[in-house]
Each structure stands twice: as structure tokens, then as C-alpha cells.
Symmetry: C3
Subunit: 373 residues, 3 copies
Amino acid sequence: METTTQPAPRKEPFLRNYWYVAALANEVRPDAIFSRTLLNEPVIFYRRADGSVVALEDRCCHKHYPLHGGELEGESIRCGYHGMKFGPDGVCVEVPGQTTIPRNCRVRSYPVVERNTWIWIWMGDPALADPSEITDFGWLDSSTWAGRSTVFHVKASYRLIIENLLDLTHLSFVHKSTIGNAAVTDKADVQVERGDNEVKITRWIMDAPPPPAYAACGGFTGNIDRWQIIHYAPPAFCRLYTGACAAGTGARAGNRQQEMGWRNLNAITPETETTSHYFWGQVHNHDIDDPGMTERVFNGVHIAFQEDHKVFEELQRNLDRGARDIPEINTRADAGALAAIRILNRLLSEQDAGHAAMVRPSDYRYAPLTDPA
Amino acid sequence: METTTQPAPRKEPFLRNYWYVAALANEVRPDAIFSRTLLNEPVIFYRRADGSVVALEDRCCHKHYPLHGGELEGESIRCGYHGMKFGPDGVCVEVPGQTTIPRNCRVRSYPVVERNTWIWIWMGDPALADPSEITDFGWLDSSTWAGRSTVFHVKASYRLIIENLLDLTHLSFVHKSTIGNAAVTDKADVQVERGDNEVKITRWIMDAPPPPAYAACGGFTGNIDRWQIIHYAPPAFCRLYTGACAAGTGARAGNRQQEMGWRNLNAITPETETTSHYFWGQVHNHDIDDPGMTERVFNGVHIAFQEDHKVFEELQRNLDRGARDIPEINTRADAGALAAIRILNRLLSEQDAGHAAMVRPSDYRYAPLTDPA
Amino acid sequence: METTTQPAPRKEPFLRNYWYVAALANEVRPDAIFSRTLLNEPVIFYRRADGSVVALEDRCCHKHYPLHGGELEGESIRCGYHGMKFGPDGVCVEVPGQTTIPRNCRVRSYPVVERNTWIWIWMGDPALADPSEITDFGWLDSSTWAGRSTVFHVKASYRLIIENLLDLTHLSFVHKSTIGNAAVTDKADVQVERGDNEVKITRWIMDAPPPPAYAACGGFTGNIDRWQIIHYAPPAFCRLYTGACAAGTGARAGNRQQEMGWRNLNAITPETETTSHYFWGQVHNHDIDDPGMTERVFNGVHIAFQEDHKVFEELQRNLDRGARDIPEINTRADAGALAAIRILNRLLSEQDAGHAAMVRPSDYRYAPLTDPA
């Protein structure tokens, strides 16, 4: 078995030419300023009259006062310190006390798109921003799925969250009370496919007892055939196609008429090297008109993800106090996560070397279950 | 327009051969030890029998235990750890358990002067300390002015406070509810005079509505002619000669018989590179026998300065998370502040190069309104 | 008098091939996991079925998750993240989801011994660990002594605690209300013996008033002859043989029939360079069947040691903000502490140079009052 160590900090630790999730749509309310640090940069968000979202550097170009301390004036924002005013493109339109505008007087503006109940931001070269190349999270506003999403602020690197999602054997130990049981580790038939720029992990757990949340939500009285198909794409998108049918009804062979279908949808956006905004949603394709079911499904996963949240921060603490330099002993279950981290590291190296690394959703080869219409 | 960036940290970040304000006089009470860190050095203060103030290094020369944990014995202080005793000149006068005193056994003592309700300290070469060269803040104990002073502990560099005081256009945005209104920026006629070692900024706002605090305290029912004359001298003295007369009564031509005269008096003493002790006072020359008026005037400015306090700390936070390296876009209103910072940087460079930089009040050329007798 | 400065941080700041105190025996309870950082390494402790203690690295070798978040299974521990299981020797015995164990799959295990109510750990080369070479603290479970021990978490270097214990003149200033009075400094006849690897300080205070705790516990109505014999051995063992007899009854000549004998027992284990676990006990050889007396004796010292605790942290704060580089002026009373610190620094240098520095209790030459049987 190979060993790995956590990478040394880089000058530029994040992939730049990618769409990242910046906020839940409902975090950016009309007539209000929302601020968040993303990829080490402070950003503000607000809405134009037509509802479209503006994203600007949260730092006036005059004295670097945070613009979130200022005031909206129509579609512009006025700094709260000396009153410099910027349009939604970040260009200064007024300097109080003088009639001319200094050359280059602007704050950075970012391409931004609202899609699938999330607000997406492009923090790389604006000329390369293509809204058609946003990773699909269409389940979140599909008419044939029910569910919702939220965001956790996690004091841990986004890498630790990716590794977590790509090795589901942890469900048997961290999430025994909800979505995990021994079978997830012991009975799983696992296949890992490694693409140039993506990873697909297929796990089948045949003829095994359902974990607590599956029994509660799926009404299973006997054993189940359960699947977990995980798709990873950089920088940090992990979409989990999961579900179960009563054991022996032919799910693996393709008969999923009676499936309890769940999707677990994850997009992690680094705040800094060691803190993250973890956006995730949970949807289901059964009982979609029953809000109580949606709450039960969401709450089960929410309990589990709060358990993970604690794990992430404990891991980061141990890394910060010395474990960073200690090799990790890898197991077979790490295969998918190792492949993902290797892709990430290669893309970062290419970016450091001056290639504008980009993996477009249209390049994905392994996202087979295109549920949303 | 030029751009500027915040300077990189220096080995010695503070001008040394200057008098700085160390404390309000009433912070150093009889028979008590007062301690404060100034220019990165911990210092204690106490009073002799005649009331004069002693300033010593807050660090026993034996094991570096803070002397503020010890006890006064007459005009001496005894360390609370092993009982070493120091006279008011910092020289060790007793080592318990032995009859001899080790060579060089002393803590640093600082020249100190109590003047104008403040305690001043000289932290440079003691041979150069001349009490006649303390910047005048005589309004604070003048019989023809009323008012008082206080001190803020600010988590920001003293530079940010100087820049704030030398660009008063911020009153229109930060202090709308008290001492600012749109006219302060829009209608100001501004003149900047740059001396070798000081800056004078003269602002006249003619025939404009009074801001809330001026209306409340000056009883103005119509427009006013308002002036703000700012004197900066290094390291961080900013004295603001301000006031107003009813519009058209000839204030600018010299007729100030009916003036509402205010002075805003600022002396900032660095604690560290990124924290400051901000001493400031506010005085007025009208209704000086009415304590209620003094409270109203002081409180109006106090509300405004609490607003500034928040601004300073937000600015420092943005600097600390990366803005330090981003150029600032300067405006016309920055002219005075830029001149002041340029003087400060030049004096620090000269000090680094081995010149004992000193700008004496007797060298000031631009302090024209010498109000105190 | 010579001067000294605090040493610069080293790559390896701690002596490794030594037994250190890791915990009070009752901190490690049956069926529970106890965790503590020692010498910069996170460690867990638990008990086998026979009560013997296991010490393992608190960091799974897979993903570095802290093992204290896992669960005991008999004499093994299972990681709480992906369920890797380790035996009491630290060797991995199970990787869930696979039948083979990766090569080198283990966490570090440490030799550990329970003795004299304390749990001892060896964090150096395991081949050199010899339980017969644990420094004797037999008073803590002797049938002819009564008393008990505790542990303080101190935000200060272990060096500051050693220096404190080896210069008892501080009792006259820090501990006036309990174990100190002026005589401890003024009337002490002090002899310092410096060995190659240990220090012995003998202090006799003849015909002097008892300090408050001695008067309260020893029932002395007149002056006493008091002794303090301090033995230091590296890394940080300070055993104080103290006591008193009525003055003039011949204690110094050897007649201690009527002695009030106390022992103050100290073992400091570094947590980090600037934080420490300070284990200390207090025992007495009079009224040993009176639990009230034991409480009185312990509480008097406990009050004093809480005073020291504050002193340590104030000292560390002053070191951290610049005093580290300022020479200390030494006094005659520092002789013992200076000798101890010199031994410590020499042993650390030898260790840096590749010698496995070790000072064994069987090498001690100066531990003359071997009270426990």
C-alpha cells in the first residue's frame, strides 16, 4: 500500500478558472448586502432591480474599507467611509468632493450566475467564464425531486471534505445512527473508475439490512439492495447517486421501479486554506409531495453531516499540530479519494506552471445518471 | 492620481525621540501602579510623594517579572517575585538575601511630564528630552475653554487614525447623525499647505446648513459659515481648530465675535504596529460655565469617534487579510493625509539611517491659532 | 554577576530518553479513554483488563483522526472515523472492508509504568526504557507519610517552573500568607552543590519565626529551626525535603525526633515549548492519621502554588512580548537555578549532537534523604 502526506501550502492554493458556489440563493436578499470570503478574497453580493446578482470585491479601492459597511443606491454601492460610489460592474462612478474619477478607479467584479437555488461565482480569468459550463445540480429545483440544501462553515480544508465523501466506509463508524451500518463497509462491492479529470466510485451493498434512516424513510421491512454511485469532479464537486430497493427485486440488473432514490449533492468552496464553505443538498424521488418526508430525509442526513463536521475540524486540528508531515497509511477504500486528490494536485501544478487548468462539465465522462430533465 | 500602498513592517516602526501621551492624568492615582504598553514596551507609572509621576520599564531586570505585580514602598517599587527593589530612577537599591547590588542592575526609566491633564513620556534618547518641546494641548486646562479628554484602545495602526483625521470628507458618510453632512464634502473650499515636517489643511464650508450637533449646540437656525483648520505634526498630533458663525456675518474675513468655537485635539500613541492608544479631547469656547453644554458637545463627538473606532478596526482587518499589498487609489481629498504619511515615512527612514529624527514644536510653522494663553 | 538570556527555540526542545509523568493514576479510569499532549505529541491512555495502562499516539495512522474520538473494544481501540482497529501495542489488527493489513500499519505505542500514584511515560527510544530508572516519588504511597498530589495546566515553559523551585527566596514575596516570611530570604544559610547532572541546594533558617502555615500545622509557639533541601535532576524533577523543629533543639546537628517533616514533590512535563503539565504533591510525616491535617497542609501549599501559577504565566507573557532577548541580571540566590538550567542546556545540546542524553536515578549522587522505605 502506498502512503501519502498532506501537501505543503502553495502560493496559489486554489484552482481559479472554475465556477464555485458562493451562496444559497436566499442568502442574498433584495435591498441587502451579503458578504463572504471565498478563495481568500472578500466579496459582497447584492441584487439588481431585475433580481440578478452582483458580486464585487469587498474592499473599496480607495482606503480598502469593506464595502459591506456601505449602502446600496439603486444598483450601485456607496462606500461607508468617504463615499466613493461603484456601479454593478465595479467601476467607480462618483468620488465625493471632485468631478473627475481617477484612472483605474474600480473594484474587482466577478461573473455570477444564479442556478439550481445556488449563486455561482467565477473568480478566475473573466474572459473564460462560460455559464453553460456550470456543474449540474438540477435536482435542487427539479419537479420530480424534493429536497433542499444548506451551507456549513467548516474550520477545515476542502480536501478533507472531498476525502470524506469519496470513502463511504466511514458511514459504518461515524453515522451508525442514521445512514450507516456495518454492511456499508463489510458487504460493499466497490468499483473505482479513474478518468483523466474525474473519478467515479460505484458501490453495491446487496441483500443487507437497511440503516436506520433507510428503514424509517423507505418503509423497508426486510433486507435491501443498496447502491452508492459517487461522481467527483474538480475542484470539489461530489454528487452521490444513492438509493435502495427491496433485496432481490433486480435493482442491480436495472429494475428500479420501486426504488427509494436519494441524491446527495456536495459543492465545497474554500474560504481559506484551512476553512471552507460546505454547500450540500439532499433530495429524494419518492413521496415528493409530502413535506414531512422531505424533512425526515433531510434531517437524517443533517445529523450525519454534523457528525462529519466535527470530524473535519478534529482532523484539521491534528494536521495543524504536526500530523501534516506524517505519512498516511492508505487502505483499499482510499482508492477513490486518492485518485481525486491526485487530479486536484496535478491541476494545481499545471496552474502554477502557467496553464489555465480547467475541467468543464462538458468534458465529464462519468456522470451517467443524469436525473434532472 | 498617484497610488500608495501600506508600508512593510520595519525593524523599528516608531519614531523614538518624541514626546508621546502615555496616560490621562487621572489614570495614575496616588498609591497605585498603572501599567500600559507603549511603542511595544511595557511601562508602569506611579506618583511620588510630591505627586510627580515616575515611569519605569514594566519588567524586573532579574527574571523579567512585570513590576505591576509588585508593591510600592514609598517612592520605590518592590518586585513581587523575588523582592528586588528599584528607586524612581530605575536603579536597584536592594536585592533581598545579599548586601551587594549587581552591576547594571536597573530597569529603564523614562522622562515623564504631566501637562494639560495628560501624562507625557519620552521613550527615545533621554539626553534629548526637553519638556519645553511638548506639543501644546493647553485648551484642556485653559480658563477660557471648557471640555475634556479620554482615551480609546484601538486595534488598528496609528497611521489609519492620522489618515482619518486629515481627510474630513468622511464626516459626510460616517458621521451624518452628529458632526457631518453633505456640505462637508460638497461645499468645502480646501487648501493644503505642506511644510517640511508638518501639514496644515484649511477647509471653509460657506453658507451651508449646520450638521445636527452644530444645530443642537450652537443654536443656529439658518445656514452657517463653518471652518476646519487641521494641523498635523509628527509622530501623530492632529489639532483641529473648528467652529462656525451664522452665514454671512464675516467669519472668513475675520469677524468671529459670535463664533461657536470648538477644538478637537488628538494625540495617538502606538501600542504595537497594529494597536493604538488614541487620546483625544473636545473643547468649546461658548457656554463654558454650563456643564450640560460640555457634555452635549463631548457626547456628540464621542458618538462620532466611536463610529470611527469601528472603521479603524475594519480597515486594519482588511489590511491584515491581504489588502496591505494592494495599491490604494488616491483622491484629491487625500492630499493632506498623503503629505503627512510621507513626512512620517521620511522621518522613519532617517531614523533607520541613524539620524535621530526630531521635529520640535518650536519648529512648527503652521500652528497659527494659538488659542491657549 | 553574570547575566543570562532565555534560549532560542530548538528543533527538538525536549530531552527524549527520560521517564516523564503523564497523568495522575486516577485520571485514567477503567473503560475510558484519557488524552493529553506531552512533549508536543498527542497521546491516549486506557487500561487493560488487568488494570495496566496503555499509551498510544492519539492519531490514527490512516487519516490522522484522533483516536480519543474512537471506542475501546476490550484491550484494543477502534478509530471513530473508518474503524481501523489497533491492539495495545499500537499494531493495526483490523482494517474494515479488507482482509489484509497494510505494511507498517500501526500507531506509536509508548512504554508506560504506574508508580507512586502517577503514570509514567517514556517518549524516547523504547529500547532504552528501564522501569527501574524512574525517579523515586515513593512518599506519595508510603505508609509513613500522608499527603496527595495534583496537576496544574500552566501556560508557561517548564524552565520557568524549575527556576522558581530552585530559588526559594520568592517565598518571602509571593507566599507571605502561607509558607513564606522574611526569614526565608534574610536568615537563610545556603549551600549549593553542583553535580555533573544534578543540583542540590541546602538552606537552613535558624531561630526564626515560623511562617503562617508552619505555625498552623506544626503547633510552634516560638521560633523554629527550618530546613529546605532541594534536589534537582533533569529533565524537571525537583524534590524538596523540608521541615522544622523548635529552635535550639538540635535539628541541624541531626536531632529531628520532634520534627514537622514535609516533602514537596515536583515533576514537570512539557506539553509544548510554552505550556506545561505541572505535577506536584505535598506530604507530611506528622499526624498522618488525621485527614484534616493532610487537607490543611495540602491546602496551604495549594494556595501558594496557585500564586506561583499566576507568576509563571505572567513571566511567559513578558518573554513572549520581547523579554526573551533581554539579558537577565542574576543574583546570588540564582546559583542553583542557573546550575540546573546549564545542565539542561548541555544535555539538550548533546542530544542535538546525536548522543542519547540520559541521566538515570541510579546516577544521582545528591539525593541523600531517601525517606521512602
